[in-house]
Symmetry: C2
Subunit: 759 residues, 2 copies
Amino acid sequence: MTRFVEKISLFDRLSSPMAEAEDIARDGLLVHHHPRAPATTDAQAVTLGQLFKHVGDAHSGEGDDGDAAPPPHHALELDEFSAGAGGGDHLGSRPPTFVLAFTNLSYSVKRPRKMSLFRRNRLATDPVAALAPPEAFSRTKTLLNSISGEAREGEIFAVLGASGSGKSTLIDALANRIVRDSLEGSITLNGEKLDGRLLKVISAYVMQDDLLYPMLTVEETLMFSAEFRLPRSLSVSKKKSRVQALIDQLGLRAAAKTIIGDEIHRGVSGGERRRVSIGIDIIHDPIILFLDEPTSGLDSTSAFMVVKVLQRIAHSGSIVIMSVHQPSYRILCLLDRLLFLSRGQTVYSGPPEGLHRFFSDFGHPIPDNENPTEFALDLIRELEGTPAGARSLVEFNKSRQDDQPALVPATRSSLSLNDAIGASISRGKLVSGTTEGTTSASSVQKYANPFWIEMGVLTKRSFTNTKRMPELFAIRLAAVLVTGFILATIFWRLDNSPKGVEERLGFFAIAMSTMFYTCADALPIFLQERNIFMRETAYNAYRRSSYVLSHAIVGFPPLILLSVAFALTTYFAVGLAGGMQGFVFFVLIILASFWAGSGFVTFLSGVVTHVMLGYTVVVAILAYFLLFSGFFINRDRIHDYWIWFHYLSLVKYPYEAVMQNEFDDRHKCFVRGVQMFDNTPLGVLPDAIKLRVLKSMSNSLGVNITSRTCITTGTDILKQQSITQLSKWDCLWVTVAWGFLFRFLFYISLLLGSRNKRR
Amino acid sequence: MTRFVEKISLFDRLSSPMAEAEDIARDGLLVHHHPRAPATTDAQAVTLGQLFKHVGDAHSGEGDDGDAAPPPHHALELDEFSAGAGGGDHLGSRPPTFVLAFTNLSYSVKRPRKMSLFRRNRLATDPVAALAPPEAFSRTKTLLNSISGEAREGEIFAVLGASGSGKSTLIDALANRIVRDSLEGSITLNGEKLDGRLLKVISAYVMQDDLLYPMLTVEETLMFSAEFRLPRSLSVSKKKSRVQALIDQLGLRAAAKTIIGDEIHRGVSGGERRRVSIGIDIIHDPIILFLDEPTSGLDSTSAFMVVKVLQRIAHSGSIVIMSVHQPSYRILCLLDRLLFLSRGQTVYSGPPEGLHRFFSDFGHPIPDNENPTEFALDLIRELEGTPAGARSLVEFNKSRQDDQPALVPATRSSLSLNDAIGASISRGKLVSGTTEGTTSASSVQKYANPFWIEMGVLTKRSFTNTKRMPELFAIRLAAVLVTGFILATIFWRLDNSPKGVEERLGFFAIAMSTMFYTCADALPIFLQERNIFMRETAYNAYRRSSYVLSHAIVGFPPLILLSVAFALTTYFAVGLAGGMQGFVFFVLIILASFWAGSGFVTFLSGVVTHVMLGYTVVVAILAYFLLFSGFFINRDRIHDYWIWFHYLSLVKYPYEAVMQNEFDDRHKCFVRGVQMFDNTPLGVLPDAIKLRVLKSMSNSLGVNITSRTCITTGTDILKQQSITQLSKWDCLWVTVAWGFLFRFLFYISLLLGSRNKRR
């Protein structure tokens, strides 16, 4: 409770007090209204806090009405499901509880210089460019130009227009996805200025893309969403009944047990997928629902089903605000209020029924049998093609709106925002608040669950999804085994000669790079997951930290299997030293490399979001890592100005670790007696002569060197390769630490990258 | 002329003689008709040949009516452009010249086993799966089930249905894109069985994707298409006027000088792009035009414009056959004949005006104001959801068609196919034939141009497109320079010590791999080009061989610059041997590596069509090439069972070439006197002792070794590395040969891969 109040007072510096709300209502919401300067916020913060406490108290009696039965609110929804389209009269004579009004919204962006560069490609003789209004060449572009309107509870408010007309921008502006300072005009809910943090709690924003785990069923997907977004205080059985009610509300009963699917795995249809996406975001039964083109990419029947579901949601007591491109006639009948945009300006605002009258008054009556929105959009487009643009229509609309302020009065809500939210919660909205006797403030906490619960749920979800795609692991395993097999056969049973030593170095350099390159192949999967993550954290479904941790935990067990597989294929075949102990260390350092490599690729997936670019970058950086690892050029020979990169090289540490695992033995001999001449011109001489030379050397050195004397031990080789600074265990720990560091950097990149507001 | 006749008789084994055509006409085209066994073909081949000669003769007088003036046919189109929508009555009372009729088309595919594997993911409790008809689980799936219909000149014939209903399959079947043996039923043009080769000449198929060179203007794109598809005999000015007429016909006048554009470069709109795609395929003014969902992805106005253009094309004397998904009401008004499919079966066939009557007779009248196609598709979809499927509607349609054979008679063409084609050519169709006085047979040759002209045009186009995207070359150059810089600084001024030799080996191995990895980054560009190529060769726009050659020619000059850039950055900085001659060879071998590398990647782009997969495969194979190049393990140490891969390794040859360029000098010394102990335990002893050892060795060997005596020359190093088989020039030629081989393999892969027919 206190936590919430603190936050309100911290973030709500711009919110307007009750008094101003009254003024707005009196002024009428559609005519020009100049918002006042922000006043003190303390009053509201306390009021809101008190309100939630009050609601909580009122419910403490009826909160514990059994676990299995869904709350009455949901029963209502189910009734409506069978009742069919009821139009806008479901509220009866009672005025709408919520009215979201926006007045004179304007938003401009500066065109980046880049655009003018591209312009040059539009050749100089281009007549279209010559016709375009000079505004098109100026530096700032107006995306929204003084847009006003209002959306009411129980209704669907639809924004229409061609692509580029500003539809999505308006939705973003209303959903507080544009930095407030960049946006002119006011947005109020029940006459009160809308605070971003409160909006985040009582609203949901459904994006165009369906970002879902492909291998979870519809029911599982919604259940995981429930576990994330509904508070811990809600019992599991209540969450389950909420999910079941939602499945019915979304019309997904038949598909509930089907997986979502992807290009390879057959799953639910496109329309069903879209409804699941909506379901995920409305699991907490929000008061305001924003949707950016929810019907795009769907066929007419699926699109109709989606909008039908939206109507049902609106009737359950929500405001639904969506952008839509070319609604069919049947969809049009479900919409309550339309706003047509042309280049950021309003060209029509009102109910669908008003379209015929509007356009016939404008002098372009809509022909019979023609879809009014299709006609309107075509007319707007035609006008936009003329030098004057759609200005005539914009002016006509403005004059009509000014003439008919009578349209407005009915839309005033009788309740203040606080009372309305309270009433809505008591009617079953914002699910979390209704079914528990505790304070309702829990419903507006930043995160629904504590850290460890999020961890558990995320891990469970990710594990469920992964285990249904065994082929992904199989492919990685195959890649590791094939490379292991090739290395094992080409470096088969290396001997302890000078050549054998060189080849060992080569084997280690390649083997240790293999781990990293294998991880690079997992980049697309990381990128796919990243998108789901971005969507879910945008509305605080869980903490970024618990995602990063659970991601690491779920990814780890397969790495163990891969490590053992690679070690088993190569260790004994190549004939590496160290016996069982050496083998165990070999497995451990491979595992550490996988851990560091997957951390590195995970981090890159957080920074570079384009698959091809990411892959190219990973491959290039790994190549540089290998170059600086100490294999191609020893540490003592690297110039001072590059030595920092040597220490940054991820491959250095595993490489040095396996080198020590192999060679760190004073008693192991790699060059013995006459072998010392192997790589010199003396190597071709007969052994007898070599022995004579050896004897004369012995004499001059005063040491007895026979054909069995060890010239170079393993330790000598390590010295030659300048592998002297870290012990093999140090190398192991450093590699493990890299893995942790990259995951921490991934976390940072997510923190910085998920600011999904426009500037 | 003779060439064409030969081909007809070669390929036309299945074509039907005149006699049969008469029978078909008498039988009526929509009722069940069993095609007869193929008869002799000689008659037709001769007849067709004579026909074209006859047409050519008839035109020899009027053919030379000046270069600048467009043929009368185009003037007609321009008139119609301003006249607007004229409906279907443009032909006046004259019967259509062409009628394409298809009877009882059936087509089934065997479901691959894979599908049943995926099925398992649809969990066992899935009620949808339980509801689905048992047919869905059987091994063969019927995509087309006895479909009949006919499309007439001057009309748009539209195939409608939900996705998966068989729309695209039907278009493919009619366009001869399904192997004839797999397809049951008959397809006739003016009552004669349609030969695939003739169809290819008189028709065009427009695919869903817009595969265009992004940096060419609309006009250039169409002009290149004209140069490919119109015969050499047509003068350039006539080709130009054809392009200008087409630009007007497509309504692209305003966008003519604008580039096509891509994600980065701003270009024409989506609708304009689609019309350019159509334009490319109808440059030769085909008699039959097939389009697979030409309006998909376009907004309503653009879609309408596209269909308007199609109507204009139909009115110019063509048959237009398209599939369409949810036409808007305005588009519906442009369609002349509809065929609704549901799961491969006909549910309605007839004019759009018949829909109201049909569905009210069926007991589901279309409500006022509702788009009839939308209603129909929704109803079909609803029926498909029931256990019986849309069977009732299929049966109802069948009984109606049987009751009303009266629908058919008007559609008989008065002309035989040969006469009709002749008449059409004389009216200006199949552009190539009309404007030249030579024999019209040239219009039906397999390729419009000889090899060297294709080469020239392809090279010019590719060069124009490339030079407008200098950033692509800049990125490759930057990659080469950055790698060159890193290598130059890390291997700065290598000395002639044993360590220095080792580092040289490393430098060469990495440097020679860099060329290949840089080429891998160009894979996406190759893949993009490959798609354009596939589209263009599908209708014999040019020979595959000239594409492969021109691709290599255009790609070569940038490689020279890259080679010089890399050589300049590294050669002098590292301090390589050989002076100016050595440098020139260094540049040449780098250039050869780029040539071989780009050939390899080009080849892979022809085999692996998925970007990510392709990139992963390239990177993996290049890694194996490096592993087997002889650097990591010398040739004499590679086991017999892997030696073949060593010779396959692309990296081996450039690596050995630069090694020889550096070390092949008997007088160059790399290990001198006491340096021979550098990599042995003696290395740490003071020089005085080393000298003493040296002296005693001299004595025992009978050779005087002083501190200045050369122990290891360059030639010795080459011997140690087993680089003894090929001279450096041999290596260069082998590398160049690899480049040619891969381009030849690319050609083969294109030959095998571009069989774009269904089986």
